[in-house]
Subunit: 116 residues, 2 copies
DNA sequence: GATGTATTAAACCAGTCAGTTATTTAACCA
DNA sequence: TGGTTAAATAACTGACTGGTTTAATACATC
């Protein structure tokens, strides 16, 4: 069954090698061999990761002679971020709680003469 | 091998059932049976999804009598969003390009008398 | 056209995943 | 105590993953 777009995006991101590839592509197009260099794995393995990223529309490929450089495509990342944004209120809430908790601790400290 | 935190987060999000569970939990704590109701799958399956979400620290559980309600925990979502943020410039760039492209199309249309 | 280089494809393997059914644990009720 | 309800665990399955090695394809260069 063809998984939905968001699932495909998140699944593609759920691998450190693929995230490193995306990070590398942030500074421009790179060939497969160059992409593979930092990794302790064979070229076909990297090629497969690229295929996963391409299927997820997180990168695109073109041909340049014998090279097939990959390029970052960011709109699916934008969609994924948009999905997460709806939860922003929750983590901001908990940050508030953390902040409040720290303030309370400080107040406690003052009360017990441990303030600076 | 224990995968890194970001990989665990993204892997947990790469399933529509789990994302739906998180969405449901956005409106507060829910028991397993209630969580399971909208889904066409057995209770153990939902229980497993909850375990995945719990391992990813995207939810927490507590005991309330015979119930074990789940609660949304958002800070890992915040971390994941922070990771994606670095790519924001790329999708904003491409939106600019899209915008520019649309303007060019409009100009073309006017030139050929297809304007409104 | 032969040879070298960049990349992909094919076949295979071990491990993980998402689901199932059947069983077990835990708490409530009477 | 026994019966019911809520949930987790165990054991199993088929499909998918991330890697390998070997073989094929595509282009470049001589």
């Amino acid at each position: 069954m063809a998984p939905d777009q968001l699932s495909t995006t998140f699944a593609a991101l759920a691998d450190p090698t693929r995230r490193a590839i995306l990070a590398r592509l942030a500074s421009g197009e790179v060939s497969v061999t160059d992409l593979a260099k930092p990794f302790d794995m064979t070229l076909p393995a990297v090629s497969k990761h690229l295929k996963v990223l391409e299927n997820a529309r997180l990168i695109s490929r073109r041909r340049d002679g014998q090279w097939r450089p990959a390029r970052l495509e960011a709109h699916r990342l934008r969609e994924a971020t948009k999905w997460m944004e709806r939860y922003r209120i929750f983590w901001e809430q908990s940050l508030d709680r953390l902040d409040q908790h720290l303030r309370e601790l400080q107040r406690e400290d003052k009360k017990h003469g441990r303030g600076k």
